[in-house]
Symmetry: D3
Subunit: 118 residues, 6 copies
Amino acid sequence: MEENQKRLEEKIGKVPEIFKELKETDPDLYARVMGLDQMIWADGALSRQTKKIIAIAIAASLRDEHAVRAQMAGAGKLGVAKEEIEEGLRVAFLLAGMPAYVYGKTALEEYLGDRPRK
Amino acid sequence: MEENQKRLEEKIGKVPEIFKELKETDPDLYARVMGLDQMIWADGALSRQTKKIIAIAIAASLRDEHAVRAQMAGAGKLGVAKEEIEEGLRVAFLLAGMPAYVYGKTALEEYLGDRPRK
Amino acid sequence: MEENQKRLEEKIGKVPEIFKELKETDPDLYARVMGLDQMIWADGALSRQTKKIIAIAIAASLRDEHAVRAQMAGAGKLGVAKEEIEEGLRVAFLLAGMPAYVYGKTALEEYLGDRPRK
Amino acid sequence: MEENQKRLEEKIGKVPEIFKELKETDPDLYARVMGLDQMIWADGALSRQTKKIIAIAIAASLRDEHAVRAQMAGAGKLGVAKEEIEEGLRVAFLLAGMPAYVYGKTALEEYLGDRPRK
Amino acid sequence: MEENQKRLEEKIGKVPEIFKELKETDPDLYARVMGLDQMIWADGALSRQTKKIIAIAIAASLRDEHAVRAQMAGAGKLGVAKEEIEEGLRVAFLLAGMPAYVYGKTALEEYLGDRPRK
Amino acid sequence: MEENQKRLEEKIGKVPEIFKELKETDPDLYARVMGLDQMIWADGALSRQTKKIIAIAIAASLRDEHAVRAQMAGAGKLGVAKEEIEEGLRVAFLLAGMPAYVYGKTALEEYLGDRPRK
């Protein structure tokens, strides 16, 4: 797992870098974006885990390879079960086509492939 | 609520009609599509309710007005709470922009607007 | 059929209007766009009819309701068979999700619904 | 012009309603979203007007009819010239296809159609 | 050609792997997906070859690099002519923008580049 | 800067190759596409620079990595300021989600990262 996490962090490492740059050039906008971000991901009527599953399904539906990876990494850290992500991706299949499923599953195997099924 | 459901069924009534037509012209394909559909929506690692929230978030992200409505109607029948759909739409906001949220919220108010918050 | 064609022309009537406006304000751009348009639709390695089927499948996949209708009208005029469009929309189902199929079929029934199957 | 603005406000009136509802149910999120919104639209390296042109081009490229209308209304209020919006839509044509141009031009004529060209 | 096919299979090799995994973890869903897949691609009112051209045009329009490659490989095996795919991509240009054409042509040259034009 | 430009040209080098191929196989279509392309990008009510900013924002909103890079390269050659592109990408954030911003900023740092801020 750790090996995968490291590879992932290299791959999506650009995201924190981008926001680090924003923090320097426009700290006010940075603060607002981060505040909104935290508020949206916080536990509420839906858990953080469920929100990550939704995010992965959206990203896969949009064929957004970077967002799929970033959200998959987040899901991995929060301990979301592979089966749950997989079922979310099936909904993406129905709503956005077989390639949406393939995008999501590819990242699922890449990052959580060594995690035992529940 | 019943009033809303009726209006909804008029609006998304085309979907059942389309599949009715398919049933007549190609019953074999119809059976396969329906079988896959049922399998994907069934309770599993995720509940039917959670799957509807995911579907609404995907449809809103794709600016797919028809799918938003169809899934919202389904969510209404399954008794999904407004707050849960709303939080799913916030994830769509972050991943797919403010208009995705607007698409979803518009349908949410249209179909579940008279449902009391939890 | 004629009834449908008339309704359609009302619905997609904005498209010719837009290009009429362009013709007046920028005749040079208009000429180039129209020239490219004609060249792309002309019979070649693929027939005009096949190109319309492709265009409908793309438009449905993009949930582009206006383009679906405009292309469906064009397909109607060229005498494309309902079955051919329907099979093109199945490919859209697989590549872009069930709602893509629904978008296309809705327009297919709306404009070519009274045409007998081959 | 006023007549158009009124029609527009009816059409996009749902957007303010949605945010009014959010203000009541979650004032904190509302405040953050509005704060971010204002910051993004403010004059900076690009003027408010240029930002509206960009927003219209994006919305048209995404076939996002609601966002096209909402942004077009905003552009109208800020006095953006028709020619500028039109040239932005040509870029959308090149990057996202002829229907993107049609979506944008339809809304342009609908809301700014009675405004004299510069 | 064989050289290209081999490179391709490496690149899109993840797709069969994903479905192999699905076959093990959920053989019932796998059987349904594969059954639907075969039914959609079968010769009918449109030939298998025409369906591949449609699929490539859709995938290019969605900027779906993986699906473009997977469908291009399938088209190569079915002996679809380069000119036909190229004309399908021109329709994608018109409906979804110049980059859609670029996505498709890049894959076309990559996989069928050494195939003589008809 | 020159180092970046060179890297970029390698990366987007496929685009000119594709159009070179088109020039040989279909000089007439090539001439029309290039003519339209030049007309759309020319200075008019909007400057060439502003058009590039719009193009980058559209491409980022569509998660179109190739188009983002190609347009970013063009913006670099025309001397568009980093701050202007950055503000255009914030509009993309609002209209198309945080990942749209990330796509654009990644390319911005990659190609114009060594350019001093104004």
